[in-house]
Amino acid sequence: GGGQDDDRLTIAVIPKGTTHAFWQSIRAGAERAGQELDVGVIWRGPLREDDRASQISEVEGFITRGVSGIVLAPLDEVALALPVAEAQRQNIPVVIFDSGLKGGDYVSFVATDNRKGGALAADHVASRLNGKGKVILLRYAEGHDSTSQREEGFLEGLASHPGIEILSSNQYVGTDVEGAYNRSEAILSRYRDRDGSLAVDAIFCVNESSTFAVMRVLQDHGWAGKTRFVGFDASDSLVKGLAEGHIDALVVQDPVKMGYLGVKTMVSHLRGEPVEKRIDTGVNLATRENMKDPGIHALLQPDLSRGTP
Amino acid sequence: MTSGTPRLEMRGVRKAFGATIALDGVDFSVAPGEVCALVGQNGAGKSTLMAVLSGVVRPDSGSMMLEGQPYAPREPIDARAAGVAMIHQELSLAPHLTVMENIALGLEPVRRGLLQWHEMRDTARRALAQLGHEEIVPDAIVADLSPASQQLVEVARALASGSRVLVLDEPTSSLSHGDVQRLFELLERLKSQGMAIVYISHFIEEVQAVSDRVVVLRDGRNVGAGRTRDMPADAIVQLMVGGEVEALYPRSPREPGDVLLELVDLEPGAATLSLRRGEIVGIAGLLGAGRSRLLRTIFGLESVRSGRIRVGVYSGPASPAARWDQGVGMLSENRAGEGLASGLSIADNLTMSRLEELGPGFLVFPSRQASAASRWVDRFAIRSSGPAQAVGELSGGNQQKVALARLLHHDVDLLVLDEPTRGIDVGSKAQIYAVLDALASGHAHEPPQASGTGGEPAIVADRVAVGRPRAVLMVSSYLPELLGLCDRVAVMCRGRLGPVRLASEWTEHSLLMEASGAKAG
């Protein structure tokens, strides 16, 4: 690593944002690994959430400061490639997590198989609808690698079911909850029947904030529970929605593990141990039926204590 | 004459703005039932003294007593509450509000939290009636009124607040002759009701007509005071300028040359006129007669509706930029709003219309700008800390000189002047008249201000105007200067320009008759 002031390793963990419960879990995992392995973990999201330029600035800042290693969830698979290459040149290794990065200038890629996550949702929807019905895909935001893979995985999964009609798949609801609420409300209102009910059989959302926003729209209009609604990721409110039947299923990743493995892989690399280039942290489908299973429950309500479990 | 304690007494008031000492230990007092005139040259400190009185400016030292009680306003509202009403030199109205709201501003009648519009309207109506202007509607928006009506609204505000001390800082600078008479009658009435009145004006005739006592300031100090009837006009002027003013209206031999401006049936204005090099032509008229609009149309600031207009060899309408190129310059009547950019320096304002020769190509060198400007600052005796001072910090009269100097810097052939001496003191007026005369005649002559103890250099008229004679077209509401300075004069009445006659064929009386539309031939 670059010029460190003391011998203890310092690892910068840069998420895409900070407010989603998902990132809180990543943080818990990363800090737990930090404690376990006795390394310093600096947690800093980009100043503007979902702003590529701002994340690049963060990476540049840490390169100049000279941390031992950077663990990064790139907001963009291309835009972040240059600063990561720069880090490599300055002998600062980088581990990528959550979302992919073009090129191979990193030590390892720790992430969920997002395409598989989308496919899981598609299979679930198809089986619940018995292969027939009207479905809406609400996209997240332009140019995000992980979420667009989920969207593609979902559409590919449904392609094999000719009886399923996709009403809308070109609308982006955006990165903030408020905008997502407004846009999804307007989009869904279009499919409102005369009696006020929703003429849509299933809806799929690809991340936590949009899932939450759409759940709120469904609740506010009294549509919740009447339409099959599949979301992505977990938070307290989403789990509550799942328990109450407002959400039919949630595709859940294992963020704590992702954060933990991200830091652990980096430390292994720094200590000269060999590491795998691709680490899959797994993806599961949580429904009302299986949500009490210990394995699924741990994913839905992860233990966020920072210490060793 | 009055007796007992003065209503207002100011002692040893000092105020400095940075390096400028505006007031240097001024004493001033006014008694109930007295009109006290405050006179002095531009920048003498009159407005500043009144700003101290009305709580706008806090003095560095000195004391004030109001009816024997110590008085130290911290904010204008304190002064208003203590019964000091003020009409400011610069118009101060809220243009988006109605007439009645402007009159009641700060003292609106409220009952149970709600505004009492009726009460407000009645108050406004009463105050306007007192001025003899019932035709100004209390519900009208102030921005829609003519400048003269706006001035009247301001007077009405001072009346409506039920004050004990009334300060008028050049209230007549945009009032018509009739309105001035009405204002004087009103002041007489208020005086007899025991009001203490401070009257600031550059018109010595007005001072003599209305005041009981005169206090003269020069360079922020008291230089004289006395009962008005004991002080002839020359004595007042002498105190003001610290010397003598000779030949207020100089007149060198002028020889009319080629025609520089020709108007044929120009609308708006119904104007037919031709102006030659070496001539000064004046336009008289009542307020709102349309004189300003005529000048603005000539200069391209408003569009020509019909008729012909020719400037030198160029015919037809043109933009202001083109007019400058054709050798025409204009002085606006609205100094603060249009004439000058108050945030910019004297140098910037002076050279704004002609930056071309201040550097090679499209470049402008600030040093050349400053030296060009300081030449004019010296010649016009502009009281300032230098060409870099912001114009907004100058006194009104000095600002006017900057605006006029711009035309000379541009070296125009035709000067279009709208109220060129508004708000200017006698001494400076004489200087400006001398400049205009020199410009028109193309001849130099002795500077008008001789032995001065005031220490201010006079405008050096002979260096201002060398070479060719120029032409001047000027609008003025001050009849003596039109008659004294112009070769020919025309009268504008209700938007129509009358025939142009030799100045010697007019008298103040006949001008007034014609302007009011009551002419007999």
Binding site: Y181 | L97, G106
Partner: protein, 310 residues
Amino acid sequence: MRGDTGVLLGLLLVALIFGLLIGPRFFRPANLELMARQTVIVCVAALGMTMVIVSGGIDLSVGSIVALSTVVTALLLRMGMDPALAALGALAAAALCGTVNGLLITRLRVVPFIVTLGTMLLVRGAAKGLAEERRIEAPITWLNGLLRTARDGNLGVPAGVWLTIVLAVLVAGVLGYTRFGRHLFAIGSNERTARLCGVRIDRRKLQVYSLSAAFAGLAGVLEFSRLAVGDPTVGVGLELDVIAAVIIGGGSLSGGKGTVLGTVAGAAIMAVIQIGCSQHGLPNWVQQIVTGIIIVIAVALDRWRQAPTR
């Protein structure tokens, strides 16, 4: 005199265009109610902003104050406080931010643009800090029903919409019929004159910024009512929408002009465009282009209508 006729015509025009594009279902009561519901948050904040802009000021911190208000509401609810008290607490926190704005503007004599740009960052940071950089989940209470369609009672219109209407009438009254309101116009029209006439400018400014922030706080409570979480990242860029609503509605950034009716119509225009584009299935980028063009045209029409004939 009336600066809001233009914007009302504009609103009509925009609604008609989308009505033609989408068909009569665009005007079904349910859809109109949707528009009303999506307007209220911008609308409530814009009521406060109208007063600020009339007084010649500007308030860039409203977006951040909305976020702070959602966070405070959620935190108080989570502490088990009564929903009404929690909402009041959020209003108080918001008004406090406004008072800080007002104090900085009047005491330090810094222009409102800078002061509120500073507090925009400051309040946003405070909201994130309070929320520990995450979304605060809170129990569902009747607060979350404020913008829910009432199927019975309330004439089928959500309580939040009624609240907004009442507030709009109130603010219009304050602006037109109280000393406070007329002083705001006087200050915005000519601050020097207002001062010379004894209007206590500093006090008025303090009041108007506090009030505006309280309105933003209320907008935050309504936002919370929809989101059911305290979200410190909500409302980024909201201030521009709010200011745009006021300006489209005939307000002038140089002060002295602005009406409540205009502001409400301005906010409505933007909601109609947004909903119309979404329901017509236009992509977001087309919607942005349309909104941009309409903003300019609405104001241009208005200026053109009022232009002096010369």
